[in-house]
Symmetry: C2
Amino acid sequence: MAEEAVFDLIHMEAVSYVFQGEKISEDEAVAKLEHMGFATGYRLVERLTRESGRFKDELDIMKYICKDLWVTVYKKQIDNLRTNHQGVYVLHDNRFRFLSHMAAGKQYLQYAPRYLAFTCGLVRGCLANLGVTCVVTAEVTQLPACKFQIQVQRG
Amino acid sequence: MAEEAVFDLIHMEAVSYVFQGEKISEDEAVAKLEHMGFATGYRLVERLTRESGRFKDELDIMKYICKDLWVTVYKKQIDNLRTNHQGVYVLHDNRFRFLSHMAAGKQYLQYAPRYLAFTCGLVRGCLANLGVTCVVTAEVTQLPACKFQIQVQRG
């Protein structure tokens, strides 16, 4: 729990630092956090998978993200993984840690994207390192639950 | 080790993000990282000490920083604590984690302060929350060893 706290707090500081920046729009700030997440994910997965075997296929990689990676970073697994078997994967986290500090209430929903951007980048970075090029978006339905959608880019 | 990696990497991204900023001097960037560390430390120690007892005295607080706090954040204890018993404490870390990724060599020494600023703030924030107002500076002698000097501000 203590270790989680350190990571949570430095992440929150990064979010607040990026949004404090002068002359930066909401979209730019979100993009910058996404980029920080991408770099973190890219290098993290390199360390984590150094000694593990290769993955069987794309679905196998997604399962790795939902289990091993999520446990390493967020101390829990993704609660539900869905796919249309055509390159779209939806990861449901019923209690996403970076949202769990937010009070439930519709008035806070507008700020949720700030707390999802780093993780969208993290997932995209991990997948990029594993050879999967994709777009990752996130959506909050009811705090602190959210879903991450991965759209794999073919060819 | 995996958890350490996540924290190390997000810290490195924060450093690189702050230094990428346009029109920001080295001193300003270091100050911003110090501030991020302060906020993180202030809130972290609040969570960590919520259920522990009160501290006996200032030295007792410093020992807590060197042992419990350092283990929580950096997975090792401070190697040596010295004090002049007049409000100056020097904490030696023989292998500071945020420096351990840097190649040894004098040409890299100039960049070391970037990787110490967050931690100076972290220590200052922890101590502020525990009622000790101080100035924290850091110095590298030989990578990856460094020392943090705490100067308590009286009255």
